[in-house]
Symmetry: C2
Subunit: 370 residues, 2 copies
Amino acid sequence: MNFQCNQQDLSYGIQHVQKAVSNRNTLPVLLGIKLVAFEDTLTLSATDLELAVECTVKATVQENGEIVLPAKYFVDMIHNLPHGPVVFQLDPDSLQVKISSGKAEFNLHGISPDEFPTLTYIEEEEYSTIPSEVLSKSIKQTSFALSNDESRPVFTGLLLEWTEERFRVVATDGYRLAVKSHSFNFRPDFPDVVVPGKTMTELLRILSNRKEEQIKMAIQGNQIYFRLSDTLVVSRLIEGSYPQYQQIIPQEKSITVELDRENFLHTLERVGVITKEGPNVIKLHITDKEKLVITANSPEIGDTYDEMTISPQKKDMEIAFNSKYLKDALKAIPTEKIHFSFIEELKPATMTPVGEEDYIYVVLPIRLAK
Amino acid sequence: MNFQCNQQDLSYGIQHVQKAVSNRNTLPVLLGIKLVAFEDTLTLSATDLELAVECTVKATVQENGEIVLPAKYFVDMIHNLPHGPVVFQLDPDSLQVKISSGKAEFNLHGISPDEFPTLTYIEEEEYSTIPSEVLSKSIKQTSFALSNDESRPVFTGLLLEWTEERFRVVATDGYRLAVKSHSFNFRPDFPDVVVPGKTMTELLRILSNRKEEQIKMAIQGNQIYFRLSDTLVVSRLIEGSYPQYQQIIPQEKSITVELDRENFLHTLERVGVITKEGPNVIKLHITDKEKLVITANSPEIGDTYDEMTISPQKKDMEIAFNSKYLKDALKAIPTEKIHFSFIEELKPATMTPVGEEDYIYVVLPIRLAK
């Protein structure tokens, strides 16, 4: 292997694959980034066995070849090099790679690529095209509601659901639920799948750093494929049946208030100061006096009070929430106003963006000790 | 106590005193910020018994008074309030403080100020004036060389030394030494003192956020006082005798190379990638071929090489350093070029900024296993 690649292109490639490098100390080869020099390209790839990312950049290749380099050192090394050409030369006997840029020279011990897991590429016709905006928006507006609790795997993933003329992305941790829908002109023959949260947030990160209008997507066996012009993201799917989330979405509501999203968020942040180290409980009191009263209290610290003006309501209601669950959704909703709807004190409430009816957030209230 | 103060002024005051709040859980009152409303001012203060900071801002006071509020909640509360007036009302029986801004209202349990340590103020004539630039520069260029090892207290402080027509600030951790000198037209009648590193870096932080040309300084008993227009910083001094640092500064040198500071720093960062998780050793090789060769190696990872052009040298030398010790100094030196001087392989080397002869950095080399 002998090739030359620009520092900027190397950085770009690294930035794409870096997060897929395993951070557990199982197989040494998984702590590395695989480099494949072939014809006029360099392909960098990394995987933690759940998520695999590969990114191809242009290179001037004298001799094709491949090697795995320890990510921890390779990444820092490239970031510390000045812009300009970087030359890689592999000694196939010692697996040592000589990397040079100007007068600077590095000799890194490489790892044999034989043990590096290989990706199964799939046929072009398996892919369907989806606007990347649709995916980005869906991930942004739902993924915060995921669980990190590995004991209930399906809650750690996003459900991608393909129904009649609709594509839906769903996240829940059992206490709250976020659903984003999109209308589509086509329906690919995809099964409903649950994709690990890490895969989706990594995909979001990659998409946010580039302008790419369309992204190709395929599902095969236990894997999902996302293909961008120069990057391939492949992830295993989460097995197990997803909860019947439709049943959780309230079909009725007795009170709906319209609130300025940013104002409500700031008020929650202010009022919540006092319970930030505790259970984070805030109480909402909807009054017939055109006021939404927000309060919190902590026996040791004190109590807080604030209010917002709302349209006249026919009845009073007092309901309590984990304020984090409200703030997370308010941060993810992009519209200026939201509708916050309630049935009664202990039943799930819903939040929707005003003007974007394709999103719903359901949140369970907290039962207060009387 | 009953007063009104602007949110911006409260934030300004908090920003000054906040870092002096104790972060150990000893005396509850030390986890608080003391508020004293008196005439047309509000004075905020905090102390961890080593460092005390107080800052005075303007306020509209209806009734004088004082209270201590838990910093953790008070600080967040003020930062989350919108700009504008904030009203404080103390209920002297319950020690509850009602804080209101617009419709937002907080009731915080206060702590009696009786247990809050009182500062001893000193007479105006005890103070001498020093340009704040002199102090800032001295702290920036020396404090990185301090030790954090509490078992050798004097190494955790900066020595302030008043000699004939000179003010010197010195830091050492036993492996390296930084000395910054300033010429002065006056010599206040100050003893040499060792001031805790935390005090000095906190003073630097306060100075860097404001434009204040002169600062008043006094030493009395076991304490040092720094007085700004609206802020007073008081700190205990560190007892114990400071090492005879003059003896460590080499009086001879056999080789001096002139280097571009930034280039040298980047080269060290690049070459050091490979030993970043180990002992951080880099080797310098000064050759008669007008080259400074910089290398590092790690048996597990590989090795690195770089070189810089230097003026012709009469002899060769190989010397090794902890690269962090070189990088710290290069980051603190403000000039474009530096002089790096050596005696021999195992003797201390010195670094000085070219064009600023009032600064010297001494660093011990590392003995390599042969």
